[in-house]
């Protein structure tokens, strides 16, 4: 499957990822810090993923601050 990462935008290929929760674990990302997007839908952690899926892992942390 193809995974689109942001900040900056780039793409990686992963194999054998069965669910969103596996994807987050493989990339060591906490669910609270990202949205997982496939097409125009948001995916919950239990959502099954297919080998030909394209999913975006979009970080939600922004802003900075002094």
């Amino acid at each position: 499957m193809k995974v689109i990462l942001r900040q900056p935008r780039r793409e990686i290929e992963l194999e054998g990822v069965r669910r969103v929760s596996d994807l987050l674990r493989r990339l060591d990302v906490v669910a609270e810090s990202v949205l997982v997007i496939r097409g125009d839908e948001l995916l919950t952690v239990d959502e099954p993923l297919a080998e030909d899926d394209v999913v975006e892992l979009r970080p939600v942390i922004s802003g900075g601050g002094s």
Partner: protein, 305 residues
């Protein structure tokens, strides 16, 4: 996962509320959180003129949409910070959002109107970029609100922003900042009233709200923000949240309900008009005028070198 309300397929899990939501019920949930926050803190009186600080990011655009949907008439102010493509992209997205909804967006250009950009100010002063940026935003948004006759300046700070700022202020025991951290800061001489209606909505939820509402926002991060301490605190707090859902909201709510009063008593510094621009300050010349002067000196020095 099924939606808590209708049992249809859920698109988002909100673990601290022990709830999953489908798209329409999530949007409704977020709007109700904001509506309740406004009511609980008596943020807005009928007829108030509202000015929202707009950055083109998920929080300010989601909040503009929510307030409009709740029936408020809100104008926006966008501050062009002079940070290359990032600034032009986020301006384009802010203008597109306003135009689609027939909302009024005032644009202030920092380099054109004040003679310097955020990268130049960061280079000239000993502040990091986020600090120079935050100072400029606070100063200019307040000026626009006061000069424009607005009753209230509305800011898009979310639960994560406030929890991470609180965490930082506690780590450093910054009593002055702790005294001022509140979702409603009343108007005082030269300062507009300031409110933060998103404090009960987590960052992930404002992003989800924007995506699910079809709001196009600036997804890329500001190029000046790399390694920012507050953002690192947010990541750590999210790891705690993963272990203990609700910990961020408890931390902030506990402070606002029980802790904050102790810091507010007797720590408010006296404000006097800045000798240069007249804005309220604790010193003779306000921090923004000092930043502008230092940057102007630095720019002149570089030009003649």
């Amino acid at each position: 996962m099924k939606c808590r309300v209708c049992r249809e397929k859920a698109v988002i899990q909100v673990r601290r509320h022990n709830a999953n939501f489908c798209r329409p019920h999530f949007i409704d949930h977020v709007r109700r959180q904001v509506e309740r926050t406004i009511a609980d803190y008596r943020m807005i009186r009928p007829g108030d003129r509202l000015l929202l600080g707009v950055s083109g990011g998920k929080d300010s655009l989601a909040l503009w949409d929510i307030l409009t949907e709740l029936g408020y008439r809100v104008d926006g102010v966008y501050l062009h910070l002079g940070i290359g493509d990032y600034s032009s992209d986020s301006l384009r997205l802010s203008q597109a959002f306003a135009a689609e909804r027939d909302l009024h967006l005032r644009v202030v250009d920092l380099p054109e109107e004040y003679g310097f950009s955020v990268p130049e100010a960061a280079r000239a002063s000993r502040r990091n970029a986020c600090s120079a940026c935050g100072l400029s935003k606070r100063y200019i948004l307040n000026r626009v609100a006061v000069d424009g006759g607005y009753d209230t300046l509305v800011m898009g700070h979310n639960l994560d922003d406030e929890a991470a700022t609180l965490f930082s202020n506690v780590l450093q025991w910054n009593l002055e900042y702790l005294a001022r951290q509140h979702p409603v800061l009343p108007a005082s001489d030269g300062l507009a009233k300031k409110i933060k209606p998103l404090i009960r909505v987590a960052e992930r939820e404002t992003a989800a709200y924007a995506v699910l509402s079809g709001i196009e926002y600036e997804v890329e991060e500001c190029p000046m923000v790399a390694g920012n301490t507050i953002n690192r605190y947010k990541e750590w707090l999210n790891r705690l949240e993963e272990e203990s859902p609700g910990i961020k909201a408890q931390f902030l709510k506990g402070f606002l309900d029980r802790g904050s009063k102790a810091f507010r008593d007797g720590t408010a510094p006296e404000l006097v008009p800045c000798e240069t621009c007249g804005s309220p300050t604790t010193g003779k010349v306000c921090a923004f005028c000092r930043l502008r002067d230092a940057t102007a000196v630095d720019l002149r020095r570089r030009e003649s070198a």
